[in-house]
């Protein structure tokens, strides 16, 4: 089966909707990189290209895999240079600093030239997969394409070279950006005000829960418990504990939704909040959400929206209208800012009117004369959760994305994300079971590799098989309530050709599992390395490099290691 044919045997036609713009509205414009109307003449076959497209990624260059930067070190080499401090008086370190505070031994940084430095990190880059290289259907992570105009904007000196302690009159453009982004997030969530301090989703969760805690305490009604569904992200219960609450877990219904009866049972006046995603982690919209809100509010609890899955309903439905009181958004998911190999992200928190006073201070306000300033006079604020203003550079990128798409484009984002997910599910459901039977799904879906497990190929084997076929695997083994879970989130930015070639690879793997699962156990064989001994990594912890002459186990403390030694290459 080639990618020009879809799962139902229908001829797939190129259409603009399948190659959505990242920097413009859904129709009427050609997407960057998307060539509307070009025939699919070069559709790749199944197993399009393995990850190891670059021959030296696996280490064929210079006789092995890329060494550590420390192993490239050669005494006397350096990339850095500094001015000689012309005219500045020399300082005698012995006089300037008391003995005992002065550094006694050289810091063992690598000694490399700029050439070595550039080659090293370029080669490391070649050993890494990314959205810029290909499809990354990691469920719950929204690995959409990251438009480059946003990168250019964030790099402008007027943003990148701003000091966070500069007085407001010097940073009016930055404050205006924050105020306009806040307004847009309030419109999209149906809530009243936002803070940008949280640096990531989990940070937003903690902030929101501390606000909920302060709210109940301000009403002389302190509460101890937070309810979460059994399918929740691990950050939810971890944040609950950090905010000083206890977790109560509520089971999902057979349809994969919140079980209203079970929820009612655990709700009482000790419940501070119910924390959920919608769509939930199975990719299903909680259609009873209004009733859920009624129940939670009925006992005086607050409804918390984990924005991990907001991409599905962007501009289509609003958490505030569903009854949510607190929402955190993951701008590094929904607003297309790059994930950076695990951050930086941005997890702004948006709250309803009755919680606005509790937001972290300071907040941006606009004065009558149209100027912006920080307002720190917030007596009911929970205080600061970030040293400064959160990940401002990420907010610049998110604002660029907002402008590019506009309201109309954002609705289109949700529509294409949901369409792509349902299309992919349709193609995959011939070979894979759905974790929970409900359809249509929203922006993602959870398959179960139960059938393939019976044939001898587990979810992990399928994931590793995908690596050999040139794709990043879906999220595996999450959510926990689905056996052998494969959580697939294609996002809106992928073309029909890409979805089809991924489906072809998945179906080929299913066929392989049925015929002979053995090769899948060996996968990946084309990546820079094969499967890793993860148990060894944990058992014999090596969390840093040591010079060859120095014991390299974690038990050795460099403080006891004597004088510094020059690393040698």
């Amino acid at each position: 089966m080639t990618s020009a044919t879809n799962g139902n045997g229908a001829q797939a036609q190129p259409r603009p909707q399948s190659d959505p713009p990242v920097g413009g509205p859904p129709t009427g414009r050609v997407a960057p990189g998307g060539k509307t109307g070009e025939p699919l003449s070069t559709a790749p076959g199944p197993a399009a290209r393995a990850f190891e497209a670059v021959p030296w990624a696996a280490g064929s260059l210079e006789g092995g895999p890329e060494r550590l930067i420390f192993e490239r070190s050669s005494p006397g080499r350096r990339a850095s240079s500094f001015p000689d401090g012309g005219g500045l008086p020399e300082v005698d370190l012995d006089q300037a600093l008391p003995a005992g505070l002065r550094r006694t031994a050289s810091v063992r940084l690598p000694e490399v030239s700029e050439r070595d430095l550039v080659r090293h990190y370029t080669r490391l880059a070649h050993r890494n997969y990314a959205v810029d290289l290909g499809f990354y259907p990691l469920g719950s992570c929204t690995m959409k394409y990251n438009p480059k105009v946003a990168e250019a904007a964030a790099a402008l000196p007027g943003f990148a070279r701003l000091h966070p302690a500069q007085p407001a009159e010097q940073v009016q453009g930055a404050l205006e950006l924050l105020a306009r982004l806040e307004h847009a997030l309030c419109e999209l969530t149906g809530l009243a005000a936002a803070t940008f301090q949280p640096a990531a989703g989990a940070h937003g969760e903690l902030t929101g829960l501390l606000i909920i805690r302060a709210y109940h305490e301000a009403r002389n009604d302190p509460r101890r418990r937070v309810v979460i569904p059994d399918a929740a992200h691990g950050t939810n219960p971890a944040s609950v504990r950090l905010a000083g609450f206890e977790t109560t877990t509520v089971a999902s219904s057979p349809e994969g939704l919140v079980d209203l009866a079970a929820l009612e049972k655990v709700l009482d006046t000790d419940v501070a909040a119910f924390m959920i995603t919608n769509p939930n982690t199975l990719g299903l919209f909680e259609r009873n959400i209004a009733r859920v809100a009624e129940l939670v509010h009925g006992v005086g609890g607050q409804l918390y929206y984990d924005g991990a899955n907001f991409n599905a309903i962007l501009g289509k439905a609003r958490p505030g209208d569903m009854g949510f009181d607190v929402v955190h958004l993951n701008l590094h998911k929904t607003f297309a800012t790059p994930h950076g190999g695990g951050g930086p992200g941005a997890g702004p928190l948006v709250v309803a009117e009755h919680l606005v006073d509790f937001l972290p201070a300071p907040v941006v306000v606009r004065d009558g004369d149209g100027g912006y300033r920080w307002d720190s006079d917030r007596p009911r604020s929970i205080g600061r959760v970030h040293g400064w203003n959160g990940n401002f550079g990420i907010l610049v990128r998110a604002f660029a994305y907002l402008l590019a798409n506009g309201g109309e484009g954002l609705r289109g984002v949700a529509e294409r994300a949901v369409l792509n997910a349902n299309y992919l599910l349709e193609r995959l459901s011939v070979a894979y079971q759905l974790g929970y039977p409900s359809r249509p799904v929203m922006h993602e879906f959870v398959l179960s590799a139960r059938r393939q497990k019976g044939q001898g190929a587990r979810g992990l084997d399928i994931a590793k098989g995908l690596i050999d076929r040139g794709f990043h695997p879906p999220t595996v083994y999450f959510p926990l309530i689905v056996e052998e879970a494969l959580m697939v989130e294609p996002t809106e930015t992928e073309s029909l050709e890409t979805l089809d070639s991924f489906a072809d690879a998945m179906l080929e793997i299913a066929a392989q599992a049925e015929a002979d699962p053995h090769p899948l156990h060996q996968a990946p064989v084309t990546a820079p390395v094969g499967r890793l001994d993860e148990a060894r990594a944990a058992r014999q912890l090596v969390a840093r490099w040591h010079p060859p002459t120095e014991p390299d186990q974690a038990a050795s403390d460099p403080a006891d290691a004597g004088p510094a030694e020059k690393p040698t290459s």
């Binding site: 990354y136 905010a243 369409l419 029909l496």
Partner: protein
Amino acid sequence: MLAALGLDDVDQLFQPIPSDLRAPADLDLPRPHAEQEVAAELGRLAARNRHLDELTCFLGAGVYDHYVPASVWYLAGRGEFATSYTPYQPEMSQGVLQALFEYQTLISELTGLEISNASLYDGASAVAEAATMAVATTRRSELLVSAAVAPRVRELLETYSRGLDIKLVEVGALDGHTDLDEVRGKASDQTAAVLLAQPNFFGVVEDVAAAADLVHAVGARLLVTFDPLTAGVLEPPGRLGADVVVGEGQGLGNHPNFGGPAFGFLACRPEDVRRLPGRLVGETLDTAGRRAFVLTLQAREQHIRREKATSNICTNQTLNAIAASVYLSWLGPQGLEELGRLSLRAARYAADRLAAIPGVRLAFPHQPYVKEFVVRLPADPAEVSRRLVDHGLLAGLPLAGLAPGLEDGLLVAVTERRTKEDIDRLADALTTVLADLGATDSDRRREGEEVAR
């Protein structure tokens, strides 16, 4: 695609959303913009800010104007790093994993402690994570916090302590440094940890070793928030007895970015590794016996341990940590020392020049400092700073409201980027501004000296 699904309209896929929960069509959102319009609008907003290429920066207080070499973001900004996710699939993520393993080694070297995690949000939240760790490892709940730790960091600790079982107790500052006698008096068998900053908020270098002895005598931990850019001249706190060393990594190759993104780092002793928050990369072998790297000890983390995790952190600041690795490799051991010395020379020259201005004096003239110091001014520091902007200068951070007794204080930071000419310009402009404000007459000067005694 719709046809393949047997649908006419994409809206049919949104049928699970009840109609009364559909968003109104008239949301107040921008119209779609073409790329050049986006670039123009962001350019317009950026131009409304006065940035550090326009103003000569002596403002620090945790974020510093260190030079960012061209190679840092040329490399860290590569799409293979920037557009990847957390390395859950190690076979196709060796680039990020190896870069983080190198990062951990570099942070270990700078802090003098064996184990570093793979980054936290920022320096302030890293302090809260360190406090959580100390409480968990000692099973005690009191944290003694020096008044010479940055107010922002103490505010954040206050916020975090609402949810945690941590009791914060302030230890005063005396002549710009933490009052160790007060530490001795307040530390007890209830004390989980003592928190110091090195150098501290006032730029003063603390006697970490003496503090460590006091803290360890009661079985508590010493937590130090450390400026890694001073590691070329200062002994790393881990070598002086600190048990957990954290800090703000912005100066390591990251632009000020109006406060973020940069990153926080955290390093600890091997025996505390199971209480470590966040990601940790370890070395291992693949099936063919090749060296490879992988996220390890994940049983500490939220996605495995859920409410029993050591922290809730998931997404961290990986890309900024990679930038720091590139930066430190660019720097090399010689570069780190040269940078530290250059900064120290410039800071001392600046302190001498400023203190020579009538009415201006150092707040803590007898304390050691390496890149930042406090001057007392004979006029309102906020007003003085405002006027110095007209001279193209960001003079520093006015301390009114931030440090009791230092209402006339200005915190001045001098990095390796500040030249003799920059400093002369600051001193000359300050002289002019003070004269304009009529704040240099000899009476005021004498009055100031009286107060100093």
